[in-house]
Structure formats: C-alpha cells, structure tokens
C-alpha cells in the first residue's frame, strides 16, 4: 500500500482487460480487390494524457505550461523527435521506429464529440459512436461489421459471441457475431461436459447457449491460444508491478495478433487496457505514465512480430475517452480534460506524420482555460480507416456507424 509507492497502474488490471473481441468474416469488397485487411482497435480506459505522450516541444508555451514535468528533447531520458514541432515520449522507441519507417501516424488535439468529463460517459461516446452518452447498447465497430457484406466466413464453423471471463467492451457489442478470448489460467472443462451443458442451455436458456456455443467453436480453431495452464497456486495477487503490466499488455496484444494473422482467423478485433487515470504523480517522463506507455510500446512490438506476413495489411488504432488537463494539478498529476492523441500503427498505414491542427497552449487557446482544445473529430479518423481499409460505405458510416456525423468528413490518405 505504501504512500510512497506509486504503482504503475493505479487501477486494477482486470483479468480480461486485454480481452480480444474479434469478427470472423471477410469484408467482400476488400476481398474483391485482392486485399485481406486486418483492423485492431485498442481502447485506453481512464483518459490518456496526450500531451505527456506526444509533447509539442516546438510550442513556445510548452515549458511554461508543464515546467519541470514537461517531456522535452533534452530531458532525461530525451524525448524522441517526430518532426520540428512534436516529440514522442521516450518510453516508446518501437512506435518511434515505426513512425520513422512510415508505419505509424499520430493524431493530436483530437476528441470525440463528448465535452463533459465523466469516464463512464466519455467511454460510452467513444465506443458507441454516438454524439451523446446513453443512447445505445451497441458499439460502432460492431455496427460497421454488421453493415459490411461478408465474403463468406473465414472459418466455415463461424462464430457468435464468446467470452472467457471478462467484461465485453461496448465498442464490439451488438448484433454482428463476435468471439472473445482472454488469457487463460485454468484447465478448460472437458469437451463432453461442454457439449452436455450446451445441450442443457439449448433447452433452457438461449442466451447462455449462444455464448457457450461460440466459445466451443473458438476453442476448436486450430492452434488456438488459450488452452491454459492449471489454476495457479501462486499466492502473489499483489498489485501488478510494471513487469507484470508489461507482460500482460504484450501477452494480450500478441495473442490478438496471432489470431488476426491466421488464414482462417478473424479479421477485426478490439481490446482494452485500463490504468490511464493519472490524477496523482503522473510521471510522464519517468514514472506511472512513462511505464504504461512503455508497456503499450511493448504491445506494439508484440503485434508487429506476431502478425508476420499479415503485418502489411494491418492497421491498429489506439484511442481513449478524452485527454487530461493541460496544466499539472496540485498533486503532480492531471485531471480530466478534452483533446488528446490517437495512435495509428500498422504495415498498411501511410504514416510518418503527426496529423494536427494545433490549437496552441496559451490560456485563451485552451478549452475553458484548462484543456487542450480539440480541433480534430476522432470520428473523422475512424471513418477514414473504416472506409479506406475495410471499405465500409460512406453512407453507412454517416447513418449507422456514427449516426449524425454526415458533416464530419472521413479523413483520407491514412491507409497506404
């Protein structure tokens, strides 16, 4: 518990916070073009400090704003230059390498249409794709998939929702069938027990039947990860140190990539990582946020490695519900804000740039004199990816996937 001991994650790493939710169909139009695109969405829950992750080192007001907490080019360790204005947090050498080779892009000063500061509502808007919270129980990714004409199932056995012990993120909830996987730690029940239970559910509880049936199908995929080791007798359920966080991020993201890479595997996935709510001792340059960003950078490496040959058709987008205050608060952390960054990585990207209509950091340029002002609608980025990578139609994007977003133009040129 120690007062002095600020753990790298201040919120629990829920078992399954790195769950993979995936779709096992192939988009028809993309297939017709001879492409086989993969898309992975990573939600960072708790509101990532975009200024701590990607620092506007060329802004004359940057140092004054953050003082000795500012991430800078001559810091210890030094920030990694992206262009003449922005520099990347030193915890992210992989992302920097990808950026330099055109396989990563960063969107800055971006936000969803949500302008309040509740995590719950912010995530609701981020994941539902609506302009307000509390409107729907389905997610934009699921609706995009449902709208895509399938070119036949990747796996003829198909899949419905399947869970192995986690909370399903809203972004993939909805009518399109998804399957889920989380890191396993228990020996699964025998196939016979599963079959009998499925039969029982089919007679008594259709919802439970759907979930269990999908799980069994996923387990039968060749070489599926997740045939777990036995339940650990390891008594260390101590709060996760950064080594555990790093291992967890890498394992979860790596497993997602292994699935997406397989010829008969899914093509679209989503997962979430918690722990970004840095109210106290944020430690962007060395500490909490630095460690978390390092773990995320490790997850990027695991994805690139495990995608193998499919990396060239992969796009990963990393989004968060909102940013944090531009200034440091009274306890060396930051409070809930608005504008922030989104990361895009993948072999299928036309990257190597920071996309930002920079609002400036002077008091009058901040939103309500406190937050980085959002100048890019995150929906424009997501619409651009869905349109150019998966070939979701503009009309569907404007009406079904992000209702009421007709005036938010899809951002072009993100995909190579």
């Amino acid at each position: 518990m120690g007062v002095v001991d600020h753990l790298p994650t201040r919120r629990e790493l829920l078992v399954g916070s790195g769950a993979l939710f995936a779709w096992s169909q192939m988009p028809r139009i993309a297939r017709a073009e001879g492409r086989d695109p993969r898309l992975l969405v990573i939600v960072l829950r708790g509101a990532l400090d975009g200024l701590g992750a990607v620092a506007p080192v060329g802004d004359p007001d940057w140092i004054a704003l953050r003082g000795d907490r500012a991430v800078v080019l001559d810091g210890k360790p030094p920030a990694l230059p992206l262009d003449s204005f922005f520099a990347l947090n030193p915890a992210m050498p992989n992302l920097h390498r990808l950026y330099k080779s055109g396989k990563a892009a960063i969107v800055h000063a971006a936000a969803t249409p949500y302008r309040e500061r509740s995590h719950f509502d912010g995530q609701d808007v981020l994941e539902s794709g609506m302009s307000k919270p509390g409107i729907t129980a389905s997610g934009w990714l699921n609706r995009a998939l449902a709208a895509l004409e399938s070119n036949g199932r990747v796996d003829p056995r198909g899949s419905l929702a399947l869970g192995i012990g986690s909370v399903t993120p809203l972004v993939v909830r909805g009518r399109a069938p998804v399957m889920t996987w989380v890191p396993q730690k228990l020996l699964p029940a025998s196939e016979d027990t599963q079959n009998r239970l499925l039969d029982l559910y089919q007679h008594t509880d259709p919802k439970l039947a759907a979930v269990l049936g999908a799980r069994m199908k996923l387990a039968s995929l060749s070489g599926a990860p997740g045939a777990g080791e036995a339940m650990s007798n390891d008594p260390t359920l101590a709060p996760p140190g950064i080594a555990r966080v790093r291992a967890y991020f890498a394992e979860a993201a790596g497993a997602a990539a292994r699935y997406l890479a397989r010829p008969e595997g899914p093509r679209v996935g989503a997962m979430g990582f918690v722990g970004w709510d840095t109210h106290i001792a944020e430690g962007a340059a060395s500490g909490q946020l630095y460690n978390l960003l390092g773990a995320l950078d490790g997850a990027f490496a695991a994805i690139e490695t495990n995608m193998g040959a499919a990396w060239g058709e992969t796009v990963v987008t990393v989004v968060t519900e909102f940013g944090r205050t531009a200034r440091i608060n009274g306890t060396q952390g930051t409070d809930h804000g608005t504008g922030t960054v989104a990361f895009l990585i993948g072999g299928g990207l036309a990257g190597g740039r920071v996309i930002a209509d920079w609002p400036g950091l002077k008091p009058a340029q901040l939103l309500e004199d406190r937050d980085l002002k959002p100048t890019t609608d995150l929906r424009a980025v997501l619409k651009g990816l869905l349109r150019d990578h998966l070939r979701v139609e503009e009309k569907v994007l404007a009406e079904t996937v992000f209702p009421g977003s007709a005036d938010v133009k899809a951002m072009g040129g993100l995909v190579a």
């Binding site: 518990m1 399954g16 509740s118 020996l187 008594t204 101590a238």
Partner: protein, 489 residues
C-alpha cells in the same frame, strides 16, 4: 410447504440472498418477505472482526514495514559498497585504467543494488495477509448467513462506494467493515459521511495531498487542487452523471474537500492512518456548490455539502435505480424505482426502509429470473449449496480474479458493472471454475442432495435430467452449478 411456497423461498434466496444452503428454505418458512425483513433487524457487525486490525493499525503496520525495508536496503547498500572498496584497494597495487575503473564502478553499483533489494525483500509485505484475512472473514459471513440479504446489501454498497486494494491493500477490508458495514442499514447521509471521511477513500480518490491554492500549504509549496474525489462523489456516489452539476461545482467542491486527509505514519507509534482534517491544506473562505453557499471554514464545510448531496432528489433516484438494477432487473420497473426513491425522500434516506420498500413491491417478485448473477454472487451460491462454511482465501480470491471480479479491486471508481451484457461473455470462464470446484468437492457433495434438500427440488426438469445422466459426480455438479437455476436470479 407447497411447491409454490418453496419456489418463492428459492427465488428469495437467489434474488435477495446469497443462494440456498442446507436448512435455508426451512429458515425462510412460509413468509419470505417477513424473513428478509427480519434479517435486516439483526446486527450486521462481525464479532470475528475483533481479531483483525483497524484500518489505521493496518496502515501503520504496512508503513512500518516499508520504513524498515527502506532502512535495511540502505544499510545493505552501504555495506556492499564498503566491502567492494576494501577488496578493490587490496587487489590493486597499481592504479587501474580508466576503462576498467568505469567497469568496476558499474559492477559495484549492481552489486550494491542487488544487496539492497535482497535486504528489503527479507521483510514481507504485511498488507497481503491482512487482505486475505479480511477476505476470509467477509466470505465466511456470506456463507454463514441464513438468507444473506443483509450481506448482499453490504456487498452492494461496498461496490457502490468502492476503493481498490491495488492502492490500499491492507485497508480495503477494514474500510468495508468500518465505513460500509457499520452504516449499510442506516441513513445514507451517515454512510456517505463515513465512506468519504474514511482514509481508504481519501487515499483511493487522491485527496490526501489535495490543497487549496490559497491554503497555508498551497502557498508554501506552490501546489494545489486534485479534483478527483469531488467529481466521483457527485457523479458516482450521490447525484449521478448528467444531473446538472457543472465543472465549477466540481472545483468548488474539491476546494471544500481540501484538508480531508489522514494522520501521517511514523510520527507517533500509537497514531497514523486515522482520518484528520488538516487546516493547513484547506482552501480558506466560503464556496458555492450547486447554487448554495457554504461559509464554514473547516471540516464542517465538507460535511454540510455531503449532507446536502445526500438529501438531493437526484441522489434518491440514483440510489433507487442502482439498487433496483442490482437486485431486480437490468431495466428495473419504473414504478418500483419511483416507489423506492419516494421512500428514500420520505425517510431522509433510511436505507433499511428503502430495501424494505423494494421487497414489499410485487414488482420485485415477478417475472422469470432474468438477472445474470455477478461472478462473486455466483461463486458464493455454489459454495453455499455445497454446504461449505470455511474458505481458503488465497484460492477464493484467485478464483474471483479469474472470473473478472477480483475482490476489492475494481478497475475504476465506478465499481463493477451490474448488467448482463458486461458479464455474459464470462460464462465460459465460469465453466472452468465450476469444473475445478466440482472436482474438489465431488468426494463429499451429492448433486442429488443439493437438488432435493438444498433447493427443495425447485430446479428445472431439464437440469435434473442432465444431472441424473452425467458421467460422473464432478460433471453432474459442474452442470448443476452452471445451470440457469444457479446462474440467474
């Protein structure tokens, strides 16, 4: 007892209690409502808790251990350095080259760090055993309860006002006992004051060092406010999100809460970790929160705001909705919520009366059991049905973690969700846990006895059939515990 009376008793046990266990249906008798109300009249405190440290004591124990670890590490480091210097000077008649000197220095540093780490690790963290003892106590209270309605209310409020053991492992159980359990059937205002004034909550929501910009400490140290607790109290604990409070209200309320902190450890061996109001951190002067001025200049300012938040009609609605959603249905009947909110307003937030209003409504007893139990409730139901009254806290908390509902470790201040779509994908993982549990208890647990005696045969015929045809006792138990009769309520 007729079948319909038995069915109602079983429903009461699953929906409002901790699930059937041997003798519980007889204990309910023919008046389930009356039995639930009678349980609320009994004391909720745990006599066994007398052997556990208070939150302040637990806090000091951990702080002491941390201090000793630091001291040991320092000592070991210095010793290692001394030794190296001695051996280095003995070994070198000739002054070494610069390169090897650098090498030697870095080796020295590594060895010193290693020694420091080993010395620190020799003192184990006392927070973990305290957490496990607390987990054992609260779990066994749920296993021992006749029905478990009161315990379910403790669990509900503990999740509503959650803290995380990831930040305050040693205090998390004591917090539940001292703040939540002691007030779960009292007035909401008292519960609110107890939880928000508890060091565990102040620690969890980052208020310990929040200081007013114009406070003595704020001026001296050029530091200031942390908005976290103010926002979460309004959004999650009382009014609910989107109920009209503004960013300015959050800031004013955060100013009101400055100074709510704890006694630092290490100053005096008998104190440390208790709540204290520190005027040096407190923003001086009055504040306006939701249109009302609070001119008090001390701890009473925060208490007054909290009392007003407790009395706010939005809080009545928020609390009633959450309770009904937890116990009755993901989309609870509006008339039931309205009745509960009215009771809250009419009784000045008497939580026992609100609970009674809920079970007094026919809406609370209607419909097929549609709620999917959360992992914690489901596991306790399984263990109760197997007539087990004591648990190994390591195995138990490991299981909770695997099911995505790690005890006192929610991922965010909003606590664990309460709707089916959040949990249903976890059913696959539940099967693995049920299978594992069934394997462990099959030697002493008869699935037929659970169906006939514990559940008074109030189990779907398809389930009885599946259990009867199972290839082994283990499989029979796994199927029974995984059945909708045990998953839903």
């Amino acid at each position: 007892m007729s079948d319909s009376v038995k069915a109602k008793a079983v429903l009461a046990l699953h929906r409002f209690g901790m699930g059937p266990r041997p003798g519980s249906i007889a204990a309910i008798g023919t008046d389930p409502r009356g039995a639930l109300i009678a349980e609320l009249e009994r004391p909720l405190l745990l006599s066994a808790a007398a052997n556990l440290p208070s939150s302040a004591k637990a806090f000091r124990t951990v702080a002491d251990a941390n201090a000793r670890r630091t001291a040991r590490a320092k000592q070991a480091q210095q010793q290692a350095k001394k030794q190296q210097m001695a051996s280095a000077s003995a070994a070198s008649e000739v002054p070494p080259q610069a390169a090897t000197q650098g090498q030697a220095q870095s080796q020295e540093k590594d060895a010193a760090e290693m020694a420091a780490k080993q010395a620190a690790d020799a003192i184990p963290d006392p927070g973990r055993p305290i957490y496990l003892q607390e987990a054992k106590l609260r779990t066994e209270a749920a296993l021992a309860a006749d029905i478990g309605f009161a315990e379910r209310l403790v669990w509900f409020w503990s999740n509503h006002f959650c803290v995380s053991a990831n930040k305050i492992q040693s205090m998390s159980g004591a917090y539940e006992r001292e703040a939540v359990r002691a007030n779960a059937l009292g007035r909401f205002a008292d519960l609110l004051l107890a939880v928000e004034g508890h060091p565990a909550m102040l620690f969890y929501l980052d208020n310990l060092e929040s200081m007013g910009a114009n406070s003595t400490a704020g001026i001296n140290r050029n530091r200031g406010l942390n908005e976290n607790i103010a926002r979460e109290i309004m959004e999650l604990h009382t009014l609910g999100v989107r109920t009209g409070y503004t960013q300015d209200d959050v800031i004013s309320f955060a100013n009101v809460m400055t100074g709510w902190t704890l006694v630092p450890p290490g100053v005096d061996p008998q104190h440390g970790g208790e709540f204290t109001f520190n005027p040096r951190l407190h923003e001086p002067g009055g504040q306006t929160v939701i249109g009302k001025r609070y001119e008090q200049d001390d701890v009473e300012q925060g208490r007054a705001v909290l009392r007003d938040l407790a009395a706010h009609p939005a809080t009545a609605t928020h609390v009633a909705t959450k309770l009904a959603r937890h116990f009755i249905a993901d989309e609870p009947p509006p008339a039931l919520v309205a009745q509960m909110a009215k009771t809250y307003r009419d009784t000045e937030g008497d939580l026992k009366q609100v609970a009674i209003a809920m079970i007094s409504s026919d809406d609370a007893w209607g419909g097929p059991p549609s709620k999917l139990k959360r992992p914690g409730e489901w596991v306790i139901g399984m263990v109760r049905a197997a007539a087990i009254t004591a648990v190994d806290p390591v195995r138990y908390t490991d299981g909770q973690q695997l099911l995505g509902e790690a005890l006192w470790r929610p991922p965010a201040p909003m606590g664990y969700p309460d709707d089916e779509s959040s949990w249903i994908d976890g059913v696959g993982r539940r099967l693995d846990v049920a299978n594992y549990f069934a394997e462990h208890v099959s030697g002493m647990t008869d699935p037929q006895a659970i169906i006939e005696d514990v559940c008074a045969s109030q189990i779907a015929s398809e389930v009885k059939q599946a259990v009867g045809r199972a290839e082994s006792r283990q499989q029979a138990l796994a199927l029974l515990f995984m059945s909708a009769d045990f998953q839903r309520r």
